[in-house]
């Protein structure tokens, strides 16, 4: 299984998931510009999937096509097995939370939340009851008669959230909903949304460019780059087993070291570094001997000691800088051929610059990435 995960092909991944939403070879052009290219993605019912990527990577465009605001140039979007390309937005039954909230400024908070229910022609008594419940869910019952402009950003976002959930949509789409909030509020909202997802069993598609947000909240993360999905998997998979150089660099911090494959042994590869050192690394995939590759070594997986231990990989380095950062100690190392960064737990001892140390890590703590 691990072997397969190392080089996931999106199609192979999808077959294992119950597909509630399916993007089937979606391509989108804006004039001559291709923003989404032949994209395949399946999302299961009740799943929380984040679309993560830098701006312009096509993630928001994909969400807009799912919501019905944009039409794919080619390809089909299926919801529960039915193509919805020709279904207009207002019939798709999807709750959308926008980055800028998009609350109606001329309506009170209560009227905003009642809007989707009125559009569905519900009775007055039921609307009142459901609005009260939806506002209660986001702890804003006391603000029903206020105007959105009288609320803080976080409160407005919670109104937008309860408005998108009150009509019990089949899918909830969120387009960088927390981007405009400050850090503390954002973390609180991340927790609240996760909690709602679990309690209500919602299917959520969440667009973000913030990798820690994607890792914290999602069941699965799809990493976008230039209109394509580079990798899709659980937060642990995309972090620990990056499939491409882009994923390794975009998510978290990593040491990328060039090398040449010397031998492939089962699920491990031996890579020779320019310095002549040999590294045993997990993730052999379709590697062949003599291929030049990158090694991704997460800084927090590197251990430092002054004696050569029994770790499988051990590099002789010298400390060039050491910075105390509160929750960890960041040590900059220089090997014969390349720099290396290590993040050590706060219980670690100090490593003053100039100290000769061994940087040790296991084969499973680094990945081979074909360029």
């Amino acid at each position: 299984m691990l072997f397969q995960m190392t080089h996931p092909s999106p199609l192979a991944m999808e077959s294992s998931v119950a597909e509630f939403i399916q993007f089937d070879r979606i391509t989108k052009f804006y004039g001559p510009l291709c923003v989404v290219e032949n994209l395949v993605l399946g999302i299961g019912q009740g799943e929380f999937v984040s679309l993560l990527g830098p701006s312009g990577s096509g993630k928001t465009t994909l969400l807009m096509m799912l919501a019905g605001f944009e039409q794919p140039t080619s390809g089909n979007i299926l919801l529960d097995g039915t193509a919805i390309n020709d279904v207009p937005t207002h019939k798709r039954d999807m709750g959308v939370v926008f980055q800028s909230y998009a609350l109606f400024p001329h309506m009170s908070v209560g009227e905003n939340v009642a809007f989707p229910l009125q559009m569905r022609g519900l009775g007055k008594a039921e609307i009142v009851e459901r609005v009260a419940r939806a506002l209660d869910m986001v702890q804003l019952s006391a603000f029903a008669d206020r105007r959105p402009s009288q609320l803080s950003g976080g409160q407005q976002q919670r109104v937008a959230l309860s408005r998108a959930l009150v009509f019990e949509p089949r899918v909830v789409l969120m387009d960088e909903p927390l981007g405009a909030l400050d850090k503390q509020l954002r973390e609180q909202m991340q927790f609240d949304i996760r909690d709602l997802h679990r309690r209500l069993g919602l299917t959520i598609v969440f667009v973000t460019h913030d990798q820690s947000e994607a890792l914290t909240m999602s069941d699965r993360v799809a990493v976008f780059n230039r209109g394509k999905i580079e990798q899709i998997g659980t937060p642990r998979q995309v972090y620990d087993e990056p499939a491409t150089r882009f994923v390794a660099e975009f998510i978290g911090e990593t040491n990328l070291v060039e090398g040449v494959v010397e031998a492939v042994q089962g699920q491990e590869a031996i890579v020779r570094l320019p310095s002549g050192a040999h590294i045993v690394s997990a993730g052999s995939g379709s590697l062949v001997s003599g291929q030049s590759v990158f090694l991704s070594i997460r800084p927090e997986r590197v251990d430092l000691s002054e004696t050569r231990g029994d770790a499988r990989n051990c590099l002789e380095t010298e400390v060039t800088d050491s910075v105390y950062q509160g929750d960890h100690l960041r040590v900059q190392l220089q090997n014969a051929a390349h720099p290396l960064i290590a993040k050590l737990g706060r219980r670690s001892r100090e490593f003053p610059p100039g100290t000769k140390v061994y940087a040790a890590f296991s084969a499973n703590d680094c990945r081979v990435i074909a360029p």
């Binding site: 605001f69 207009p88 937005t89 207002h90 959308v96 998009a102 109606f104 402009s149 009509f167």
Partner: protein
């Protein structure tokens, strides 16, 4: 301290040209027009001595000798027959019988060979306080006669307000017509202007610039030129009728000129920018994601429009409508050139009084009516726009 006061002095000096201009070319003409409407010097000018004496009169007792002497002196001094005629007409309308009484009196006063001792000796009627009362009232420099006449009202001999006879009642019909044409034009502008502004606001780049330029271009063209252009387009052998006939859509030319249709078409075109621009300026401030949000919440396009876009752009629609309506009720050239006799608006009547018959009082009074209507509309608009909550 001196620095502050000199700075204040400098700002006043900088503002002075503007203030003087406003006072000289706006406030003063406006006030003088309004004062023309209520001032009435026709009698006072001819009877200055009587005016002095009559101020002491108690308005009930029979005329005293000084009163009679003063009036005799005044009447003898009159050498302007037209002014005298005006005054007699004025007094006769307040008290019937004055015409015969006056002509008898002036004839007797002209008889230098046998000068009358006093007025009562000429005619017994001069003993009655009613006639003196009419003179005393007419001496007042202020009158509501013009203002009442502007809305087809007048005072009868006892001083009560009543409708003028039908043959003198034309202002009210024209006022109603003016407001009706203005309302039609406002409606037409709103129906055309709102979708136009919506499309312009939804576009970007050169397309938006082109649409705005198309609105602004007429504003930079002379009103007379535009009206003349419509004259050419709308006439019986004009472009529109020719085109429709060539296409075989109509057999006979449509009556588009010298009637209400032509007036409304031409005025709508001329006033359209005043509708489009305020609506456009409000529309571009509405966040772009509100309509997609409404759609995602289950609103079909037309319901999203009614519930979200329309309420949010109502302020622009209201100010546009107000601008168009206020401009339209003052229109003069377009109805005069394109309209028929039944389409003349109140401005034409004002122009007639001011230039045709030199009746500045009536011209001023009709102007005041127009001004009051405008101010009323504006206050309603101001009340509505500030009363609406949720506006920043």
């Amino acid at each position: 301290m001196s620095a502050v006061s000199s700075r204040a002095g400098r700002s006043v000096a900088l503002l002075a040209p503007l203030l003087l201009f406003l006072i000289g070319f706006f406030v003063w003409p406006l006030l003088s027009m309004m004062s023309q409407a209520v001032s009435d010097q026709a009698v006072l000018r001819l009877l200055p001595r009587s005016a002095v004496v009559l101020t002491d009169w108690d308005r009930k007792s029979p005329p005293t000798v000084p009163m009679q002497m003063a009036l005799m002196e005044d009447l003898k001094a009159v050498d302007d027959d037209q002014a005298l005629g005006d005054m007699v007409r004025r007094l006769n309308s307040a008290r019937s019988g004055f015409r015969t009484l006056m002509s008898k009196t002036t004839r007797a006063l002209d008889d230098t060979a046998n000068p009358p001792a006093n007025l009562v000796s000429i005619d017994k009627r001069w003993e009655k306080p009613e006639f003196w009362l009419a003179i005393a009232d007419a001496l007042s420099p202020l009158t509501d006669r013009n203002l009442l006449a502007a809305v087809d009202l007048g005072r009868n001999s006892t001083g009560d307000i009543e409708h003028l006879p039908a043959d003198q009642s034309v202002n009210r019909v024209i006022l109603v017509r003016t407001f009706w044409i203005a309302a039609l034009v406002t409606f037409a502008c709103a129906v055309i202007g709102f979708p136009y502004a919506m499309i312009a606001a939804s576009l970007t780049g050169w397309k938006r610039d082109l649409m705005l330029a198309a609105v602004l271009l007429p504003l930079w063209t002379s009103l007379l030129v535009r009206t003349a252009a419509w004259f050419i387009l709308l006439q019986e052998k004009g472009l529109i009728n020719d085109l429709l006939q060539t296409l075989g859509l109509i057999n006979a030319p449509l009556p588009l000129i010298f009637n209400r249709t032509g007036v409304v078409i031409a005025m709508t075109h001329v006033l359209l920018p005043f509708m489009v621009l305020p609506i456009y300026s409000v529309l571009i401030t509405i966040p772009k994601n509100l309509m997609p949000a409404a759609a995602s919440l289950g609103a079909p396009p037309w319901r999203a429009f009614l519930r979200v876009l329309l309420p949010l752009s109502l302020r622009g629609l209201a100010s546009g409508s107000l601008l168009v309506f206020i401009s339209a009720i003052g229109y003069y050239i377009t109805p005069a050139l394109i309209g028929g006799p039944g389409d003349q608006m109140i401005s034409s009547i004002i122009a007639f009084y001011a230039m045709g018959s030199a009746n500045w009082g009536m011209a001023g009074a009709l102007g005041v009516v127009l001004l009051v209507a405008t101010l009323l509309l504006y206050s309603v608009y101001a009340r509505l726009s500030t009363g609406e909550p949720g506006r920043r």
